[in-house]
């Protein structure tokens, strides 16, 4: 009666498409992606909460996930694919130039929202840009570079690639950036082999339960199109994985009982349309819910069976660092500050939910999925699936943010199993709820500390204890328990010290790795107590930190003697901004009582790489007979920039122009192991391997040509030209024999940071390299509503050597945004916040201006002096904000997040005590 034509005609990017009218009520996003192959439009939530799927309909931005296809009949749809013709649009070029795309998953949505604005207003203001882009979430960038890119569109400056030897320090556009801004990067959900089956998991609705299956065969036969139903009995190998040797405890599919809400118990595999439409309400599984414990305190008190039979008292592990006699030091201290603090579960909230596809090539299982650790994925999945490692090939997808959670395998064993059983390509795309409930979180922490000083403010002793809720499975719980005590002093001299951190199991989500591995939680209390001590001593807060900061030659609480310590330089760089900020706040507060300004400062240090455990990286660089240089770079680039930074280091080590290098990615069949993208280790560890490999290849070339170390190397056609002054020699690459990898010249180097195991008191050398930083937060507190608005963060970070300033700033701005979220709004409540409208992360309107100050205090060990940065940047943000809230309002926050009602309650407490 109403739709007369047999087909549904829609126009996308100027091209008419005729679709079956059965698709009228389908989400435009799924039709664009699955039916028309336009995978530039990304899906992050299917609920309008993230804006990644933003497209234009007759010029107006809408969420494609909320738009039924029928709505766009007779209208013009523009997607990111329609933004560029042969070349990038000016907007896309500006995004690339400004470093506005990190992982790239939100980039198409950001571009489309910005394009809609620019179509209406040629020269928008910053406020107009923020409003127009307010509906697109980004978890990587902190938004600043995105706004800059939109405002700066059209100012074309052709960027030249740096010359040979000048790559390090250059603000090079990310080498993998063009495909990100064009919407062409292939993320986990973007590879759709023809006839791929869809895999969905049946997951536990309970935090803890026993379960039994009914007649699965009967259920399957009642659902034509379902090709297989897989449960734990179908797993051919060890149904148990984990990231830390000795702590493997997590089943790919649960056996008889589940330990957390969202744990997978069965897989349904079949035709995509059939499986997508299933609701599972009739799936034959009977749940017998059990009493669940969700907090570490409940868990410690619980009698009866532990969550894991071999872990008494639900304690996974306790980490410890003891030096000197902290009790005595505190007893003798003139000033002692003490406090307690509690933090929440924090969700990584990358905009790309886990996704991937697996298929067989001969007898080799191939997996294309998002990841931070391809080789670990291979090894853990191979164990579950009982495959030799050489029969499993991980071909990493572009990864739409990770921040620690994509270190653990998620769907890899599941799609791998499905592909092996069915023999067909099998695809899985987590829903937002599935991603949030089943993957790891930041550990909720309950911590206590006491810190003492002399009369003059010299730190004398510290005692720290903390319980970290590690959730249902081990994951990186032991890493957190070990890292926290090592870092609990902050980058300061504390002669007498005792710190203990325990990872406690609960039935909450598994807590794993999240930017900083527990250190951000510990730093909050330490930095809050420093403010108390500075006040007690009558010393300026920045001055207090400066006078206690570690210096070259100082010993850490682990007994390690440090060199290349840049914390003083960071704090000194903040001196002038600090004084100015205090002055501005005081001026403001003289005439304002309702809106009070405050300023806070906090520091960080962070050891790069695994804690006293091997974590080697191997880099291969080869030159072909055709004169091409290939860099096998296996460090997962999840947006942080390893592809660019490692290439910059290697180019300068080899002494060849960056532009002549071609990257080969982290495919486990092509590239040696660069370890995991975690622990801020890639610039340092893989970078060092890249430096060594580049230098090795350079030595080979110079020795073959009998030239001096200062000679220039250039590739001209198929010849290497080595020259110095008037002398010039050539190596004809075409005439050299190729090795097993097809290279005529090649170098491969492995680097493993020199560390020393910690003894039972935590004494040893946990890390070879540390990075340092300090941040000032300036904010306003609404004294009647408890609302906090962070105005500016000034961040000084010691990178040792800045490899790429744009990427470094991007890390700082993004880390601060995540820190702000953790401080002010983020709290994951299992079963209640499994979406991005109840779980809030900062939007473009919530982030402050960030002023980055890059400090270079070379590290004797790092490549060209470089140190890690990625996790450091988040650590000072939360304490700097909380210290600023206290400075502004007197309110002492003791529980995160500092949402308005908690801040107001803390303000009222101060008023009550007055």
């Amino acid at each position: 009666m109403t739709i007369s034509s047999e087909t549904l005609d829609i126009e996308i990017n100027g091209i008419r498409h005729s679709l079956p009218k059965e698709l009228s009520g389908n989400r435009l996003s799924s039709v664009l992606r699955d039916k028309l192959g336009l995978t530039g439009t990304k899906v992050g939530c299917d609920a309008g909460d993230c804006g990644a799927c933003t497209v234009l309909v007759d010029g107006a931005s809408v969420c494609a996930c909320l738009t039924p296809v029928a709505h766009v009949g007779e209208k013009k749809v523009t997607t990111v694919e329609g933004l560029s013709d042969a070349a990038m649009s000016q907007l896309q070029a500006s995004f690339l130039r400004h470093g506005a795309a990190q992982c790239g998953i939100c980039t198409p949505g950001m571009l489309m929202a910005a394009h809609a604005l620019q179509q209406r207003i040629v020269k928008p203001t910053r406020a107009q840009v923020e409003t127009a882009l307010g509906g697109v979430l980004c978890r990587c960038t902190g938004y600043q570079k995105i706004v800059d890119a939109v405002l700066d569109t059209g100012k074309v400056e052709q960027q030249d690639q740096p010359e040979a030897g000048a790559a390090i320090g250059a603000a090079v556009e990310r080498l993998d950036g063009e495909r990100k801004v064009l919407g062409l990067d292939v993320f986990g959900a973007d590879l759709l082999p023809e006839n791929a089956l869809l895999v969905r998991a049946v997951r536990s609705p309970h935090h803890a339960a026993k379960f039994t299956f009914g007649n699965i065969d009967e259920w399957q036969s009642g659902h034509p199109g379902v090709a297989a139903v897989l449960t734990a009995v179908d797993i051919p190998g060890e149904n148990c994985f984990g990231v830390i040797p000795g702590c493997e405890d997590q089943p790919a599919l649960a056996e008889g009982h589940v330990r957390l809400r969202g744990e997978a118990v069965a897989l349904i595999v079949g035709a995509a349309d059939v499986v997508e439409a299933l609701t599972f309400v009739d799936f034959p599984v009977e749940w017998e819910p059990q009493v669940a414990v969700l907090t570490s305190s409940e868990s410690k008190e619980r009698t009866g069976d532990p969550i894991h039979m071999n872990r008494k008292g639900n304690v996974l592990i306790t980490g410890r660092v003891v030096s000197g006699d902290a009790d005595a030091a505190l007893a003798n201290a003139v000033h002692v500050a003490e406090g307690e603090f509690e933090t929440a579960y924090v969700e990584h909230a990358y905009i790309e939910p886990e996704a991937g596809v697996a298929w067989m090539e001969g007898d080799v299982l191939n997996i294309h999925a998002c990841t931070q650790a391809p080789v670990m994925d291979r090894d853990e999945t191979a164990k579950v699936l009982n495959l030799p490692k050489d029969k499993l090939r991980i071909r990493p997808a572009a990864t739409g943010g990770g921040f620690g959670s994509k270190l653990d395998v998620s769907l890899q064993p599941l799609i791998g199993l499905a592909a092996m059983v069915t023999g067909q390509p099998c695809r899985m795309v987590y829903s937002r709820a599935e991603s949030m409930c089943s993957t790891t979180k930041r550990h909720p922490a309950k911590i206590k500390a006491r810190i003492g000083t002399t009369k003059g403010g010299e730190l004398t002793g510290m005692i720290f204890t903390g319980d970290f809720n590690t959730g249902a499975y081990a994951s990186w719980g032991s890493t957190v328990a070990n890292r926290v005590p090592v870092h609990a002093s902050g980058p300061y001299r504390v002669p007498d010290f005792s710190a203990e951190a325990s990872a406690i199991h609960t039935n909450g989500p598994t807590s794993g790795a999240f930017r900083g591995f527990g250190v951000p939680q510990a730093a909050i209390l330490q930095e809050a107590l420093f403010d108390d001590l500075a006040e007690a001593c009558g010393i300026d807060r920045l001055g207090f930190r400066l006078s206690n900061a570690l210096q070259d030659g100082d010993q850490t609480t682990c007994g390690q003697t440090l060199q290349g310590v840049g914390i003083r330089e960071c704090l000194e760089a903040l001196q002038q901004p600090w004084e100015q900020a205090l002055e501005e706040a005081a001026t403001h507060n003289r005439t304002n009582t309702a809106l009070r300004r405050g300023v806070g400062v906090a520091s960080c240090w962070y050891g790069c790489g695994n804690t006293a455990l091997p974590n080697p990286s191997t880099i291969r660089i080869g030159i072909s007979g055709a004169g091409e240089i290939f860099l096998h770079q296996g460090a997962s680039d999840i947006g942080q920039g390893a592809n660019t930074v490692i290439a910059q280091i290697c180019a300068d080590a080899l002494g060849i122009a960056l532009g002549s290098i071609t990257l080969v990615g982290g495919d486990t069949a092509l590239t040696p192991d660069c370890g995991k993208t975690s622990a801020s280790r890639q610039t340092f560890v893989t970078g060092k391997a890249a430096e060594l490999a580049g230098k090795d290849l350079r030595r080979t070339i110079l020795s073959m040509s009998n030239m001096s170390p200062d000679a220039d190397i250039e590739i001209v056609g198929t010849k290497l030209v080595i020259s110095e002054g008037t002398v010039s020699r050539e190596i004809d690459l075409a005439k050299l024999p190729a090795n097993e990898f097809g290279y005529v010249l090649m170098a491969e180097e492995t680097y493993d940071p020199p560390t020393q195991a910690l003894d039972e008191s935590g004494q040893g050398i946990p890390y070879a390299v540390y990075g340092y930083g300090a941040q000032i937060a300036e904010l306003e507190v609404d004294m009647k509503l408890g609302k906090v608005r962070v105005l500016r963060v000034t961040a000084a970070h010691d990178l040792g050597r800045v490899i790429n300033p744009i990427l470094a700033e991007g890390q700082i701005e993004g880390g601060i945004a995540q820190g702000l979220g953790m401080a002010l709004m983020e709290e994951y409540v299992p079963g209640r916040t499994e979406n991005l409208h109840d779980y809030l992360i900062p939007t473009i309107g919530d982030v402050p201006e960030v002023r980055s100050i890059l400090i270079e205090k070379p590290d004797p060990e790092g490549p060209f002096g470089a140190k890690g940065l990625g996790e450091h940047v988040l650590i000072p943000t939360v304490p700097a904000i909380l210290n600023a809230i206290r400075h502004a309002s007197g309110a002492r926050i003791t529980k995160l997040p500092a949402v308005p009602h908690r801040v107001l309650a803390a303000i009222q407490k101060v008023n009550d005590n007055v």
Partner: protein, 284 residues
């Protein structure tokens, strides 16, 4: 039956509704988030082609806002200052993407306690017009929304428009939304205020609070206290004692109960102050 229907006339739509068992779909910004599936389930009656349901117009007796009018269209419309609060609420709905799709009728029919549009519409004394093959009827918005997710619409009825009487389309208005972040946020509390001020006196006051009771509510006690008050005395009248008895806030992840009481009183005071400042600006 299952299908996707996109009627071109209201009559067609009503006939389809009379058959029963249809889900009415407009902006779809609440329907799609309610499912993890890729298509809308059941029989969908897509009313977005009904031209009569779109747009804002002045009638002999006031203003008519078509149920399918998007929030962006509300923002773009030229309207009297009494609609400023509604416009401000429109800009606080989700994001630009949501405002471009979501409709005023959908916001009402979804009947969320935190519906952004409802408080401002209540201060405009809005009436809901519904049609079915049986005829048309009107009802005050206040009685139309019966509770969370509960409305007075019969299964065969379609909401076609919202009417604002001329008597309410007077004065100055404003809206404040309190949330934990800037964009894409569900309110902790929100308030809409409309005041008619002449000669330094408040002639009429309409104040409504959302997200602090099952349905957004008018603050009748406060309104009565303000009516007749001088502008100078007004802020002194905005006291928690006149506000809190009208609210029944819940404690949830966004805020605790006590905070909602305190914050609502404060944002009400601020909203009244800002509307008074607008009124004052007009006089001087």
């Amino acid at each position: 039956m299952v299908g996707y229907f996109q009627p071109q006339t209201v009559q067609e739509a009503l006939e389809r509704l009379a058959v029963g068992d249809s889900t009415v779909a407009a902006g779809c910004t609440d329907l799609f988030p309610a499912t993890e599936h890729q298509s809308l389930a059941g029989t969908v009656l897509d009313i977005t082609r009904l031209a009569e349901l779109r747009g804002i117009s002045e009638t002999g007796t006031g203003w008519r806002v078509g149920a399918n009018t998007t929030w962006s269209a509300v923002i773009d419309a030229v309207l009297p200052a009494s609609f400023d609060g509604l416009k401000s609420a429109a800009g606080a709905v989700g994001s630009v993407q949501i405002q471009n799709a979501a409709t005023i009728g959908g916001n009402i029919c979804n009947a969320s306690p935190a519906a952004d549009g409802v408080p401002a519409l209540l201060t405009l004394e809005a009436e809901v017009e519904m049609s079915s093959t049986r005829g048309s009827r009107r009802m005050p918005l206040q009685s139309f929304i019966k509770g969370p997710r509960q409305i007075a619409l019969q299964p065969d009825e379609l909401m076609v428009a919202i009417h604002v009487p001329a008597s309410a389309a007077r004065g100055q208005s404003g809206f404040l939304k309190l949330g934990s972040r800037k964009h894409l946020v569900i309110s902790i509390a929100m308030v809409a205020v409309r005041l008619v001020v002449t000669d330094g006196k408040i002639q009429d006051a309409a104040i409504s609070v959302g997200a602090c009771s099952p349905v957004a509510t008018r603050l009748v006690k406060l309104e009565n206290a303000l009516k007749g008050a001088s502008v100078d005395a007004a802020l002194g009248i905005v006291k928690p004692a006149l506000i809190e008895p009208e609210l029944t806030p819940i404690e949830d992840i966004r805020a605790d109960r006590n905070y909602r009481f305190v914050a609502t009183a404060e944002i009400t005071r601020r909203a009244v102050a800002s509307v008074l400042a607008k009124a004052d600006g007009l006089v001087s």
